[in-house]
């Protein structure tokens, strides 16, 4: 079953959008490799693969933070064949996202960050430079107290100079949120409860508030662009994150950077064809096509720099945010699973005012660090 030359068999592909269909057709035309095209959710890739690798796709999309577990469970094929060209074409962050412990596995085809959406009629470009002026002049709708606060606000710690799993996100013992800087951040979060410019809302409700003018600013990803554009039209402004002041000066507020990857199933019996397809789908040409059709922000240096991308305000904002000074690559260590839940809880509780004393905050931070950095047995 490890003969990689079964050319006649179709390569099974999972992508999350049928816009890929003509692209894949072209691929088949060019190479003669048949592709079994299936729609599936990239976020479910890991679970579906884990469930039954032999029945899963040969090539699949997935967000890079699942890479750690996939490697750990032996689900994903190492990318040796196209490593070089990828390193050459793609941004450094994308390459980093596709690699784990020094080896490359993924085929990056896009990046994703959060950006700031705002109402141009209410807020000027200056107003949105800092969190303080933003929330003074306008109202920011966000979700400190619910699910997803971790995704949005954990990078605050890194904005203030802390590390999550070390500098490159691969060091189990590398989290240091429980230092003074971390305390500063946590206290800052707690203060937001009394900030009249911050409205607590779920994401769905935030969109609605933006549309009907009850809120003026909103932190979210490119996927909300379509809705907001439809509702707000020209009023919609997109920008990079503001700065925040945790007590000792303005610092750039950071966001998580996600890299979108194609992967090849380790159990595939048509490895070469699969790799070829994965590589094709992450090629510059396809990235450009996909950007045109779907607005996925590309991870290729050249495509990012192209005029079309830069003309698009969201894409421009994302590429800006994707720069290392504005974002942190989301760690892909399997241990992340032990971090997500507790960090969400911590931010929620801090915002809701449940952590009443400094010592409590400190002990909660200690606990978070301890729980999420337990080394492997």
């Amino acid at each position: 079953n490890n003969s990689a030359s079964a050319d006649d068999k179709a390569v099974k592909l999972w992508v999350d959008n049928k816009a890929y269909k003509p692209i894949v057709k072209q691929f088949t035309k060019d190479t003669g490799i048949k592709v079994d095209f299936k729609i599936g959710q990239s976020a479910d890739a890991q679970a579906d693969l884990k469930k039954d690798p032999s029945a899963a796709a040969d090539v699949f999309m997935f967000p890079h933070d699942q890479l750690g577990q996939m490697v750990q469970a032996g689900l994903i094929y190492q990318n040796t064949k196209y490593e070089k060209s990828i390193k050459k074409d793609q941004t450094d962050s994308a390459v980093q996202g596709a690699s784990y412990k020094g080896k490359m596995y993924g085929y990056p085809y896009g990046v994703e960050t959060q950006v700031l959406y705002y109402n141009k009629e209410k807020l000027s470009a200056d107003d949105i430079k800092s969190w303080a002026s933003l929330t003074e002049k306008g109202k920011l709708t966000t979700n400190f107290a619910g699910d997803g606060a971790n995704y949005k606000y954990v990078p605050l710690f890194m904005s203030n100079g802390d590390y999550l799993y070390g500098e490159n996100g691969e060091k189990v013992k590398g989290t240091n949120f429980n230092n003074d800087k971390g305390m500063q951040v946590l206290k800052w979060i707690a203060q937001q409860k009394d900030n009249n410019g911050v409205i607590q809302s779920t994401d769905a409700a935030s969109l609605n508030k933006m549309s009907n003018g009850k809120a003026d600013a909103y932190l979210s990803g490119p996927w909300d662009k379509v809705t907001l554009k439809k509702e707000m039209g020209d009023k919609l402004g997109v920008a990079k994150y503001p700065t925040v002041n945790f007590g000792d000066g303005d610092k750039q507020m950071k966001t998580f950077l996600g890299v979108k990857l194609f992967g090849v199933n380790a159990q595939t019996d048509k490895a070469l064809n699969a790799m070829k397809l994965a590589n094709y789908l992450s090629s510059n040409k396809v990235q450009k096509q996909v950007f045109d059709k779907l607005g996925y922000v590309p991870s290729s240096k050249s495509v990012q720099a192209s005029g079309d991308v830069q003309k698009d305000d969201v894409a421009a904002a994302v590429t800006e945010m994707a720069k290392p000074e504005n974002s942190v690559i989301m760690p892909k260590l399997p241990q992340m699973v032990t971090f997500w839940g507790p960090s969400d809880a911590l931010i929620n509780d801090a915002y809701k005012g449940k952590l009443t004393s400094d010592t409590e905050m400190q002990s909660k931070l200690d606990k978070l660090v301890k729980q999420s950095t337990k080394s492997e047995k």
Binding site: G74, Y77, M275, G341
Partner: protein, 445 residues
């Protein structure tokens, strides 16, 4: 003409050669007594079992002990220019099929026993010179004295395949180190005994386990009792004498059962949001000035899930209760009226006990179901709001939803299985106790 029953053991001792041969070659006795079809069946069972056993079964049992020895690995293939996968053993599948093999063996021995018993019966009939049942008689017995066999064997087979087998498999996992460090197919996992149990009960997981256990029990009781009580009340209201449009009301309530839970719960989530419609409306009417934290405050959220669960659970109870109400013995109710009972007393002393009697088993089941009520919590709050005192759990998380997070996110299947077993033991003890009580109450005509 008193007949003495022979036990199988005695029959083997005193029986003739046909009986004795049956112990080795199944079906002999039946064949030689003219029960051809029955005999052939037993014979076929034996032959196919042993063929399979020597071909596959033995190996499967061996693998069950080791749970695999070959790890998967990659070898560089010069021709292709890439590393190529060498399949290893998959511990998970070995475990699953090992368990299945054991079940097959058990079933075979059961068949073997049936074969012996049937041979014994033939022996006995011989002894008292009675006629051997013909195929037709055997078949017609299936419609009468052995009807339970006819009716139940297919469902029970389903239960064995789709409930018992997975269950044993799941329980077995608790004794392995199947966690995020030993994920198949790349890694093998192996038996570790009771280590995991210690980890759950002693480790830092415990500080989350016990509070969640507490809430799970509170939730299960509240969810079951409220749905039941109010469901019965609603049924009483709708079915009250002189109320017109019973059918319309009933239909309105039943509507909720027609919409999938994941939809209604999503909508509930929407409506009860901090800035959801309920809060918006209350604020517009100036009933409140700040949004009520239906889902964002721990205590509020707990109450909310119970109430929303009522919204889901009451119509079902109402429906069953209506059925029961209409079948209640009218005479007894008349007698009670004459005895001077008012409507409420009739309800309390007659209607309710009888509804309870009919529903008691299902209530126990609902209670267990609520302990494991994944849907409502998962879809409505997702366990939230998160609680920083817990390990990866929120205020409304039940043990199961927590378990789900542990498996899906953390892939610590062994821990999950231990917790599963704990929940299971707890529920089993409770329900067997409750079941005994119900049975006691059972002896009314």
């Amino acid at each position: 003409m008193q007949t003495q029953k022979l036990s199988v053991r005695e029959a083997l001792k005193v029986g003739d050669w046909r009986m004795k041969l049956s112990a080795i070659i199944m079906g002999t006795s039946q064949l030689l007594h003219g029960q051809i079809l029955k005999g052939l069946w037993f014979l076929a069972v034996e032959i196919s079992f042993f063929t399979w056993f020597f071909a596959r079964g033995i190996k499967s049992l061996q693998s069950l002990i080791t749970l695999g020895t070959h790890k998967q690995g990659f070898v560089f293939d010069k021709k292709l220019g890439i590393n190529v996968l060498h399949q290893g053993d998959n511990s998970m599948l070995l475990l699953l099929f090992g368990v299945a093999t054991i079940l097959v063996v058990v079933i075979f021995f059961y068949q073997y026993w049936v074969n012996l018993k049937s041979a014994r019966k033939l022996q006995e009939l011989d002894l008292y010179h009675k006629s051997i049942p013909t195929l037709k008689e055997d078949l017609s017995a299936l419609l009468d004295s052995k009807l339970h066999i006819l009716l139940m064997s297919v469902p029970v087979a389903g239960v064995v395949a789709f409930t018992i087998l997975p269950l044993i498999y799941m329980i077995s996992i608790a004794f392995t180190n199947y966690d995020h460090n030993h994920l198949p197919p790349k890694n093998l996992f192996s038996w570790v005994g009771f280590e995991n149990l210690g980890n759950v009960l002693g480790g830092d997981v415990a500080s989350t386990f016990f509070p969640l256990l507490g809430w799970t029990i509170v939730w299960a009781i509240m969810a079951t009792v409220t749905s039941f009580l109010f469901g019965v009340l609603l049924a009483m209201l709708i079915n009250a004498k002189g109320i017109k449009g019973k059918k319309v009301y009933r239909t309105l309530f039943i509507l909720t059962m027609a919409v999938p839970q994941f939809i209604t719960l999503l909508i509930m989530n929407n409506l009860l949001n901090d800035s959801g419609m309920v809060n918006t409306m209350l604020m517009n009417w100036h009933v409140i000035s700040h949004p009520l934290p239906f889902l964002t405050d721990g205590t509020w959220a707990k109450v909310t899930v119970i109430i929303v669960n009522m919204w889901i659970g009451i119509p079902a109870t109402m429906l069953v209760t209506t059925g029961i109400l209409q079948n209640l013995n009218q005479d007894q109710i008349e007698a009670a009226e004459i005895d001077g009972a008012n409507k409420f007393q009739i309800f309390r002393d007659l209607t309710f006990p009888q509804i309870l009697f009919v529903m008691a088993p299902s209530l126990i089941q609902q209670f267990i179901g609520n302990i494991n009520n994944f849907n409502v919590i998962f879809l409505l709050t997702g366990g939230g709001p998160m609680n920083s005192d817990y390990y990866n759990a929120g205020d409304t998380d039940l043990l199961v939803t927590w378990l789900y997070k542990l498996t899906i996110d953390a892939a610590d299947y062994n821990l999950a299985s231990v917790i599963g077993i704990l929940i299971f033991t707890l529920s089993a003890v409770f329900s067997l106790f409750a079941y005994k009580r119900v049975n006691k109450m059972n002896n009314l005509g």
